[in-house]
Symmetry: C2
Subunit: 248 residues, 2 copies
């Protein structure tokens, strides 16, 4: 079910049994998937979705994602996601989200940063010039009381795990799917941690694409206070993405 | 969206961009997830869903699944799944599915076999005695023109891959999620095969549960004519599940 006003869009979901974790909470992978779908629905309904971009040989690229949750929807619970555009800059746009429980009360928020690239040059285009800057007409002052994605640095020099990208990791563009990185990063932590704590905040910075058959190496720093910083690198040393995971 | 008559239930979906494969086709993992959700919706709406079973300290257990597709929904396409009960025996019930494209034309079918177990004894209960056998009142003569799940035998003695069950593999019951086995089995095949062919028929026989930290070993026979038989075993040799994958 979708409800939309001019600027925000709200989309309903249910916590599906094969997409909750051992605690019966929606997985961050499933939630991330819903967030990105909502971004697509919202943009598509307003004429700046991926289909329109593709006609001009452009595409949307997710650069950063930060999700912070006080509570997680539990198995079979209804929940919804509201999304809106917070800001449009020349090369990036900020899209925010509120995650609402079945009573419509916010239980979490998310922030994302996107660019549009030209598929020929692979370079970002000027969002303020695109379609007379009409994306900026959707800027909306909804509150999003979580911090912006931060700078992530990882010092570790020995990988804690590696993974060779397989069929199920790859999306229609031939890249490892943005959501799969989230799952692989969460799989670095032992089950005991998930049984005692939950992820309070999760951040991703997507840096470069990776492809089928590439070996991804996971480097992790323990930043103290239940915070971990993770960097995914290829065997060449090229950084693919960085993540910050805060448990409480 | 749900539409139901007395005996069948039909549920609408869209092929989400992060749940399609390199060819833009809905993954069998995502489709399997939708099939099992539809089973849950259909049973729940008719008073024999998992919530009702749990009240009596029973639960539904999936024993077999066979899916056969002529076509796959492509990214962003709408599709729907219709489900109904074909038969109820003393210890098993057969539930079938039709997968319908956006015009409502069948593009595939699935068959599943389920038992209800007593959570204390872990033994199947008599379905014909449960609630005066009212499940049998929903038996329905819809056509399901695909073969029943078959017997699968695997001779291989050397594993082709192994996987240690991690956080993202585990469901609320502490078991490896039924859908994850499908993904891990499909990941045994090289990308080139998916680029040239597609899975025409996929079968799973669920034999035993596996748990966090257990090492799963994948044994595969090439049965010829693009058919492969896969058995997942624990290090102890215990069989977890068996699968048959037919590419065309």
């Amino acid at each position: 079910m979708r409800t939309t006003d001019e600027k925000t869009g709200t989309y309903s979901f249910v916590a599906e049994p094969f997409r909750v974790d051992v605690n019966g909470r929606v997985t961050l992978g499933a939630l991330g998937n819903h967030l990105l779908n909502c971004a697509g629905f919202h943009a598509g309904d307003r004429g700046f979705g991926i289909a329109t971009m593709n006609e001009e040989n452009y595409t949307w690229v997710l650069s950063r994602l930060a999700v912070e949750l006080d509570e997680y929807p539990l198995q079979y619970e209804d929940f919804s996601i509201r999304t809106w555009v917070e800001n449009v800059y020349r090369l990036f746009t900020d899209r925010n989200f509120a995650i609402l429980n079945k009573e419509g009360k916010p239980i979490g928020y998310a922030r994302s940063v996107w660019a549009i690239i030209d598929l020929n040059t692979r370079r970002p285009i000027d969002l303020l010039a695109l379609h007379d800057g009409n994306i900026a007409g959707y800027i909306c002052e909804e509150p999003c009381p979580i911090e912006k994605p931060s700078r992530i640095r990882v010092e570790a020099t020995e990988p804690v795990a590696d993974h060779t990208a397989r069929y199920s990791d790859i999306d229609i563009n031939g890249h490892v799917n943005s959501i799969r990185y989230i799952e692989h990063i969460l799989d670095l932590f032992p089950m005991e941690l998930y049984q005692e704590k939950r992820v309070r905040r999760f951040e991703m910075a997507y840096v470069a694409e990776s492809y089928y058959g590439e070996k991804l190496m996971f480097f992790r720093d323990d930043a103290g206070d239940n915070e971990y910083h993770v960097e995914v690198r290829k065997e060449t040393g090229e950084v693919v993405c960085r993540s910050k995971v805060l448990f409480v």
